[in-house]
Symmetry: C2
Subunit: 237 residues, 2 copies
DNA sequence: GAGTGGTCTAGACCACTAG
DNA sequence: TAGTGGTCTAGACCACTCC
């Protein structure tokens, strides 16, 4: 763990334990640098990551401030567009289960080759499953993943693919390109989500990248309407 | 314009004019620093912003690479979830027009008070308009904005509210909290988007913040399905 | 004008990849 | 082992806010 990560964690602890009121101004960067025995550049890296997480914001000429709505409303049932979509991690403490519709391998379509930047002879897994949180239908997922990334078993698919990739296969998810659509329920949605024909469905089309910039999954997630939405917190520079 | 921004633009130019093949490795950072007459730290900032934009990726120990799917990725008609939703700026060079359904002021509902963190006696504007890009229906917007933020005229609403806020009223948009839903077309959508009853509609619910962390608008944007989606590029740390 | 965050320099050392 | 990107230092100057 790098120094700036340690400092960022340390600061977050201070915010949650009440050392700072929401909206309060932090000590200036020079002071923080002295306090943590480092330089301003390193403090700035730590603060930068807190900005991205939506914990603090800075105002040139004024200071660094703890967000007023820092502690408040986190949505409990919505995937966060600025985080991995994996349900297991985002809904820790809840019962996440899966029904597996398909786990297979085949050669990729041209569309899939394109999205994953692989050749026509590189086999991919096809994974289709419905996910439930606390027994309630949460999402229907259709995932394509090159087999060279990791070996996927039925057991992994039944629990958490992302967790397996991170902890067992050493894959670090670094980013994703996502597109969100509203569509009419397909036959798969009627089966996978219990949707009614003609119902709106929220569809998230995503290509996930590893920290090496390599696409490792192309997935389409369907969320039932009325009971679900996606959330994005945005920092504009 | 800062040096790292100039360098980042300069590099992007080189990528589009074919000096580098997709997937090609860039000169190492030391070399780029010499070439641009600067230090590695500044080159790194330039590269960092290219990473966020999804143009290049780095591999420690190996080099910096131009994404293979660099050219293919641009969507021309989708709002970017990591940017302001304002059409005028995102679609510069295209003809953005508006039809105004309503421009009025009244006292806020409790829901609106809540979202904007204002009192019941602080008046708000109510703005409803349909937006067109190159004559094509793009979105239907319903915006609530405290009148204390700025004076809004019909002329402003007809062109660009965001641009007016930024350039005339000195408001800097620093971030937003957004929620994206799939819903069934409402009566407003049938009027405002020309949607058919029962059609899916993509709805973006957003509270925008100024650089002081103050909510300045609560808006709901409806996008017609089939012709539109939203895009999010995510960097996960 | 004093104080803040943002950029930039010129180095050093560390972590990682590949031949 | 050579070469790459990632972190970190110890400063300097600039842009901006607020009194």
């Amino acid at each position: 763990m790098y120094k700036y990560q340690v400092i960022s964690e340390e600061l977050k602890k201070k915010f949650t334990d009440g050392s700072f009121q929401p909206g309060a101004v932090l000590p200036d960067q020079e002071q923080l640098a002295a306090e943590f025995g480092t330089t301003r550049m390193t403090i700035r890296k730590a603060i930068q990551s807190l900005i991205v997480e939506g914990v603090v914001y800075t105002k040139r000429g004024s200071g660094t401030f703890l967000r007023k709505d820092f502690a408040s409303k986190r949505d409990s049932f919505a995937p966060l567009l600025n985080k991995p979509l994996g349900a297991t991690k985002n809904y820790a403490g809840r019962e996440v289960t899966s029904k597996i519709w398909e786990l297979d391998a085949r050669l990729p379509t041209t569309e899939e080759q394109d999205r994953l930047v692989i050749g026509p002879e590189e086999p991919v897994y096809v994974i289709r499953r419905t996910r439930y949180i606390d027994g309630k239908t949460y999402a229907y997922e259709h995932t394509i993943m090159p087999t060279k990334i990791a070996t996927i078993t039925r057991k992994v698919v039944a629990s958490s693919i992302y967790q397996y990739l991170a902890e067992e296969a050493g894959i670090r998810i670094a980013g994703a390109h996502r597109k969100v659509y509203a569509i009419k329920a397909t036959a798969e949605d009627i089966e996978g989500l219990g949707a009614t024909i003609g119902d709106p469905v929220l569809m998230i089309d995503q290509v996930g990248y590893t920290d090496e910039g390599e696409p490792f999954e192309y997935s389409v997630t369907h969320l039932p309407y009325l009971t679900n939405a996606v959330v994005a917190d945005v920092e504009i520079r």
